[in-house]
C-alpha cells in the first residue's frame, strides 16, 4: 500500500497569534511555525503502517512557499520516504489544494491519502472531503482508529454522539482526528538522515492546475475582547452573583 500524506505549514498551536494592524492578515514574521498538528498525527499513522509492513512507501506533499520545505524536512525526519513541494503562496485555499492533490494522485497513484481533518490556521476542514469528491473516492473523516483490510481500510469516525465504523474500498481519503495516536518526536539521527532524503520541487503550472478560487479575504480583524477577570471569594458569593447580578440561575 502506497500512502500520500499532505501536510501544511502553520503557526505553532501554542503561539498567541497577532492580527496585523493594517487588517491584511495575521503576523507570521519571526513567529514559530510548525507542521499542522493533525498532519503530524496522519504522518504517525502512515509510519506505523509502514513499520508493520502494511505500507510500502510514504510520500509527504505540501503546497506553500519555499519555507514550507522545513515542514517537509520534519515529515522526512518522522520517516517519510520522500517529499514533494508545490511552490504556491502561503494563503492558498482548500479547493486549490484539493485540485493540486488530484494532480499528485495522478502522478503517484497512492492507495491511501492520509491527512489532517483541519488546518489550524484557516480552520476550514475541507481539503480531504474535496479531494475524495474530485477523485470519486470513499472518505473516512475525523477518524480515531484505522486498520487495513483486504483491499480496504476500516476506520472509526468521531461523530455527533459517539463513534461510527466504516469500511472504505481503496483508494480512499482518510482525515484524522486528535485521538488516533501520539505522534513521535524525530530523533537527531533521523533529522540528519532526513537532510539527505529527496524533496522534489513542482509548480502548479507543471501540474496544469489553476490555483485561483472565487473567494477573497477582504480583511482580518481582532475579535472583540471579552472582559473577564472578576473574582468571587466563596461559593456563596458565586451563587448570589449568578442569581442577583447575572440572573442566569
Amino acid at each position: 500500500m502506497k500512502i500520500v500524506v499532505p501536510v501544511k505549514r502553520v503557526i505553532d498551536a501554542y503561539v498567541k497569534v497577532r492580527v496585523k494592524s493594517d487588517g491584511s492578515g495575521v503576523d507570521t514574521e519571526n513567529v514559530k511555525m510548525a507542521l499542522n498538528p493533525f498532519d503530524e498525527i496522519a504522518l504517525e499513522a502512515a509510519m506505523r503502517l509502514k513499520e508493520s509492513g502494511q505500507a510500502s512507501e510514504v510520500v509527504a506533499v505540501t503546497a506553500g512557499p519555499e519555507a514550507a520545505q522545513q515542514q517537509l524536512r520534519t515529515a522526512l525526519a518522522m520517516g517519510a520516504d520522500r517529499a514533494l513541494h508545490i511552490d504556491t503562496p502561503a494563503d492558498i485555499q482548500p479547493l486549490a489544494v484539493a485540485r493540486l492533490l488530484v494532480a499528485i494522485c495522478d502522478r503517484e497513484q497512492p492507495d491511501l491519502v492520509l491527512m489532517g481533518k483541519q488546518a489550524i490556521d484557516d480552520d476550514a476542514n475541507q481539503v480531504g472531503q474535496m479531494l475524495a469528491a474530485l477523485q470519486g473516492w470513499a472518505q473516512g473523516t475525523f477518524i480515531s482508529a484505522l486498520e487495513p483490510g483486504e483491499g480496504e481500510v476500516l476506520v472509526t469516525r468521531e461523530v455527533d454522539s459517539g463513534h461510527e465504523r466504516l469500511a472504505l474500498p481503496l483508494p480512499a481519503v482518510v482525515t484524522v482526528d486528535l485521538r488516533l495516536n501520539e505522534p513521535r518526536y524525530p530523533k537527531l539521527p533521523d533529522i540528519m538522515k532526513a537532510k539527505k532524503k529527496p524533496i522534489e520541487g513542482l509548480t502548479p503550472e507543471e501540474l496544469a492546475v489553476d490555483i485561483s478560487t472565487g473567494l477573497s479575504v477582504l480583511k482580518v480583524e481582532e475579535p472583540p475582547a471579552r472582559v473577564g477577570g472578576a473574582r468571587v471569594n466563596s461559593v456563596a458569593e458565586l451563587v448570589e452573583k449568578l442569581q442577583q447580578e447575572a440572573k442566569v440561575i
Partner: protein, 311 residues
Amino acid sequence: MSILVYADHDGSTVTPATRSAIACAQVIGEPIDLLVTGHDCGPVADSAAGIPGVNRVFLADAEHLGQQLAENVAPLLENLARDYSCVLAAATPAAKNILPRVAARLGVQQISEIVRVVSPDTFVRPIYAGNALATVQSSDPIKVITVRATAFDAVAADGGNASVEPLDAGQDAGLARYLGSELHASEGPELASARVVVSGGRGVGSADNFSLIEGLAKALGGAVGASRAAVDAGYVPNDFQVGQTGKVVAPELYVAVGISGAIQHLAGMKESKVIVAINKDPEAPIFQVADYGLEADLFTAVDEFRDALAP
C-alpha cells in the same frame, strides 16, 4: 438568492442547529428550501415543513441514505444545487463531512463556519481558533456555506406549512460501507444547544470523579462538556469535547471546572453569555475570560455549589 439548506436531523426532528442555519439563510435571502435525506424519515420532513420561513421540503428517503454517508448524500445536494444561488448547512459533524464534497464537485470554494452575514456574498468567519475574524467575499455562482449555529438564534420549530416533495433518492455510490456505531444516549439537554453547560477538565482527575460534574450539571438543568485533556484521558466520550476541534457552545451559563483555559478550549466556549471558572491555580488563563472566577479546590467547591442550588 434562492437557498437550499441541508437539514441535519436525529431521525425524528430537524436539529436546533439546522434551525439556526435557517435563521442565517433568512439574512442572506429567499426562498429557502430544505433537503431532508435518510431512511424512514418522513416524520423529519413533516417537522421540517412546520418550520416558519421554509418554502419547500425535499425528501429523499432510501435505505442507502440511512447513515448520511457523504458519498451518497453529496450527489443529491449537488444535483439540486444547480437551481440555487446558495447551499447552506449548520456546521455539524454530518454537514462538515458532506458539504465540501458538494463544493468541490460544483467547483466552488466553500465558506466554513460563518458567524455573520455582511451581504449576500460577504461573510465573517473565525480563523486561528477564533483569535482572528476574517471577512471574506465570494464571487462563485453558487455559494456553499456552513454556519456556526451558536452565532444565530434558531427560528421557531413550528408555525409554518411548507410543502413536502419526494425526491429521487439516487443510487448507493457503492463506496464507503457502514459497519456499525457505538452511540450513547445522553441524559438531559443536548450539549450544543443547552442553556447551561458544566465542563470538566484534567483537574477532575478520573472518570469516577466526573459524577461531580454531572451532579452539578443536573442541579443547574444543564449539559456536561469537557476539555480535550479530559476526553483524551478517557473520563468522558469524545463528543463531550468543547473547543476548536470539538463542539462550539454558547450557553447562557458556562461553568469550567478544573480547566486551564487553553486557546483551543476557549475557541469553543468564549461566546457564552456568562462564564464561571473554578480552578485552584490563580494564574490559570481561564480566569481572564471568566465573569466569575473562584479560586478553589474543585473537590469541595463543586459539592458546595450543588448543595447551594438544592431547594
